[in-house]
């Protein structure tokens, strides 16, 4: 059956070729996106949670080994990276605030700074990892270090590489997202009326920062 009303709707829908937004308005869409992001971050917490549980169990079983092995991590480099990431969280927050107030140049500056700090993090991590490779401080079966004699020590470096490695992947994803924000900010796609992606990437970046804030003391300090 084809009533006039139905065919009218068909024409308008086909002409726009866009699926109608399921939301009543932009505010509802924004709230929903935020809720979705929070749920996503919960899943991230649980994923890292598995690693933290593994860490806790092995530390409980081999506390002496953790004590010995953690001295082979460079606290100064890890500490530098902690400061770098906390600073990048600050610049990210400032960038989000600037977008919300419509200060486009300021937003560009802060997103740029965030990206720069993230690159610093990568650089430091690169030196750390290459040093570990050089010393043979490698995961499990590939462990080759002569000085660290504890038979369970390879496990510590398995955990170290898996935990910091997964975090590093998150940093890389975050950098990609911030670069995307930069591009869209240049194209003037955000402003006080629409900044959902900016806010969500902000959430994500703070989360990445927060994971590191747990990783640093657990691996570098208390061991």
């Amino acid at each position: 059956m084809m009533s006039a009303d139905v065919s009218d709707r068909a024409v308008t829908a086909a002409a726009s070729h866009e699926h109608e937004s399921p939301f009543a308005g932009p505010d509802e869409a924004f709230e929903a996106a935020k809720q979705g992001m929070w749920i996503f971050l919960v899943t991230e917490v649980l994923m890292f949670g598995g690693l933290f549980v593994a860490y806790g169990i092995f530390r409980g079983l081999h506390a002496d080994m953790f004590q010995e092995a953690h001295r082979y991590l460079a606290v100064s480099l890890g500490g530098t990276n902690t400061v770098v990431l906390i600073l990048s969280s600050l610049t990210m927050a400032l960038g989000v605030g600037a977008t919300q107030r419509g200060q486009r140049d300021r937003a560009l500056l802060f997103f740029g700074l965030t990206l720069l700090l993230a690159s610093c993090f990568l650089l430091v991590k690169y030196f750390e990892y290459s040093h570990k490779f050089h010393e043979g401080l490698l995961p499990g079966g590939y462990f080759r270090n002569e000085h660290l004699k504890h038979p369970k020590a390879p496990l510590f470096f398995s955990l170290y590489f898996v935990m910091t490695g997964l975090h590093l992947v998150h940093v890389l994803v975050g950098m990609g997202l911030i670069a995307w924000l930069l591009k869209r900010t240049v194209a003037r796609q955000f402003g006080p009326h629409y900044y959902t992606p900016v806010e969500l990437v902000g959430f994500y970046w703070h989360f990445v920062d927060m994971v590191w804030i747990y990783l640093f003391p657990l691996l570098y300090l208390v061991g």
């Binding site: 399921p22 598995g50 690693l51 499990g140 590939y142 590489f161």
Partner: protein, 534 residues
């Protein structure tokens, strides 16, 4: 030509790039059915091999691979996505009175992630396969020289699809309810999908990290689960079951949701214990996270832990019992219409009750030690997963068939198939309870000659099941193309999906309905649809 979601936009391209939840559901449906066929063929091969002791059609190594494929395909590619991603995707926005799920683009992405993961996992079939079982227990899964890494990677990828679907559903239920659709008016299918989504969101990431760690074991020799490198294989079991026990409820909770819709509609009575059924879903979801240790009773877990996990596992029977009694009470003195969906709801009740009660047997420590890793366990979880989830999938496929395709399925064929499936199922799996209680171990290629008769019965049952499913595929496909035209509300049901044409238009409702009542007003004097067009 009328405008509905099937005719809106032409050509393959319009399907592959669609953001319409209904089309995405249809794409999921055909993908899931394809993998169901594949997993089913492997099941038939297994049963054929077991038709007599010793070698029948394949050698032991092939057998190990075939049961791994059967398990992995059925769990990750069929049952987990079947009801949430197929039925849920199609029905949830309609029941909410919404135009789509909250994040339509993400929904399409979920589908492609699922497909990519499934294809990656399936590609192992053409390489060196995998022979670890779907549980990937270490240390064997680290040592095997089959392509287990590929299957692990596929399951890892599919996990994201499951998480994103769950996330999408939770936000949709929170943010997209039609005006007047308060929580206490929410259909029970949506309550169960909500509880399912919570499990998907909370448990799947733990599986993801577990599979990732296992992949690292194989690629980088990390040793966390490898005793030879100082790691702990039992830790793998803890991690794995922390996801995979709740995963059982990802399979069964939505199935219970379908049954909760079908029973009141075909009993013409308000559902008994609406709140009890709704809350018990969350009871099950909560307890789901506290019982994983029942898979480790003989893995060297402490006696205290065994005791606690045994007790907690039995607790699952409480919310489950609440549901079963509520369904039965709903039917009591109802005017029961014995249509195919209702028959499948009966089938669900019979099989799921046996599956659930034998679950309580297995939770009992003394019995568990005796029957661990025997066919008793195999029979138990097939009663839950096939008897529960697949029966309910069949109920849903028939119940919502008119809504999906705008056509009716043939009632007589529906009933014949139900008879085939229920007898085939019991014939296949009931003997396995007996075999297990007599000590026939699972996963073995061979067995003692005294088990021959029961194994033969089971194999014959598997043919009946296959006949039923093939017949269903045949008549449902035909009905989809040429069936009698369906009215908007053939079952005289109250929920909102029945208050829009069959099949629904592209954006679901000509006007968003306003909800004025709960969905289960079925009375002597008639029924009272939930929504009104303003």
């Amino acid at each position: 030509m009328e405008d509905n979601y099937l005719t809106h936009g032409k050509g393959l391209g319009s399907w592959l790039t669609t953001r319409d939840h209904k089309r995405i559901a249809v794409m999921y449906l055909f993908s899931v059915l394809t993998f169901f066929l594949l997993g089913g063929i492997f099941a038939l091969l297994l049963r054929l091999e077991l038709a007599s002791p010793g070698k029948t059609i394949m050698n032991a190594d092939t057998y190990n691979k075939v049961f791994t494929y059967h398990g992995a395909i059925m769990v990750f590619m069929v049952i987990i996505p079947a009801i949430p991603a197929v039925m849920g995707n199609f029905i949830l926005p309609l029941m909410l009175g919404a135009r789509d799920v909250a994040f339509p683009r993400l929904n399409l992405a979920s589908y492609y992630i699922y497909l990519a993961g499934a294809l990656v996992a399936a590609s192992a079939l053409f390489l060196r396969g995998a022979d670890t079982g779907w549980t990937f227990y270490t240390p064997y899964s680290i040592r095997t020289n089959t392509t287990a890494t590929i299957v692990l990677a596929g399951a890892f990828i599919m996990g994201f699809s499951s998480v994103l679907t769950g996330l999408n559903f939770i936000v949709s239920i929170h943010k997209l309810r039609a005006p007047g659709l308060s929580w206490s008016r929410l259909p029970l299918f949506l309550w169960s999908l909500y509880a399912t989504s919570i499990i998907q969101v909370l448990a799947t990431p733990v599986l993801a990290i577990t599979l990732l760690l296992l992949i690292f074991e194989r690629l980088f020799r990390t040793g966390i689960f490898d005793p030879a490198l100082g790691g702990d294989p039992v830790l793998f079991q803890h991690f794995f079951w922390f996801y995979s026990h709740p995963a059982v409820y990802i399979m069964i909770l939505p199935a219970m949701g379908v049954v909760s819709e079908v029973i009141p509609v075909f009993s013409r009575k308000p559902i008994f214990g609406y709140k009890a059924i709704a809350y018990s879903s969350f009871g099950i979801a909560l307890v789901a996270f506290l019982v994983w240790g029942h898979h480790l009773f003989v893995s060297g877990q402490s006696e205290l832990a065994n005791f606690v996990f045994s007790l907690l596992t039995m607790l699952v029977a409480v919310p489950t019992g609440v549901k079963v009694f509520s369904w039965v009470a709903t039917m009591y003195k109802g005017k029961i219409r014995l249509k195919t969906p209702m028959l499948y709801a009966f089938g669900f009740l019979q099989l799921f009750t046996i599956g659930g009660l034998t679950g309580v047997f297995l939770a009992t420590l003394a019995i568990n030690v005796h029957v661990t890793d025997t066919y008793f366990v195999v029979a138990h979880f097939h009663y839950v997963m096939v008897g529960g989830a697949i029966m309910s999938l069949m109920a849903g496929l028939h119940y919502w068939f008119p809504k999906f395709w705008g056509r009716m399925y043939p009632e007589r064929s529906g009933r014949i198939t139900f008879a085939l499936l229920i007898s085939g199922f019991n014939l296949t799996f009931f003997p396995q309870f007996i075999l297990g209680s007599r000590g026939m171990p699972r996963r073995y290629w061979d067995y003692l000659p005294e088990f021959t008769v029961l194994n033969r019965v089971s194999t014959v049952g598997s043919w009946l099941l296959a006949a039923g499913f093939f017949y269903a595929a045949f008549y449902l496909y035909r009905a989809m193309r040429h069936g009698e035209r369906a009215p908007a509300n053939p079952w005289e049901a109250n929920t909102l999906e029945w208050q829009t044409p069959s099949p629904p238009p592209h954006d679901n409702f000509p006007e968003i309905p306003v909800v004025t009542t709960w969905p289960y007003e079925y009375r002597e004097k008639g029924f009272f649809p939930q929504g009104m067009v303003p």
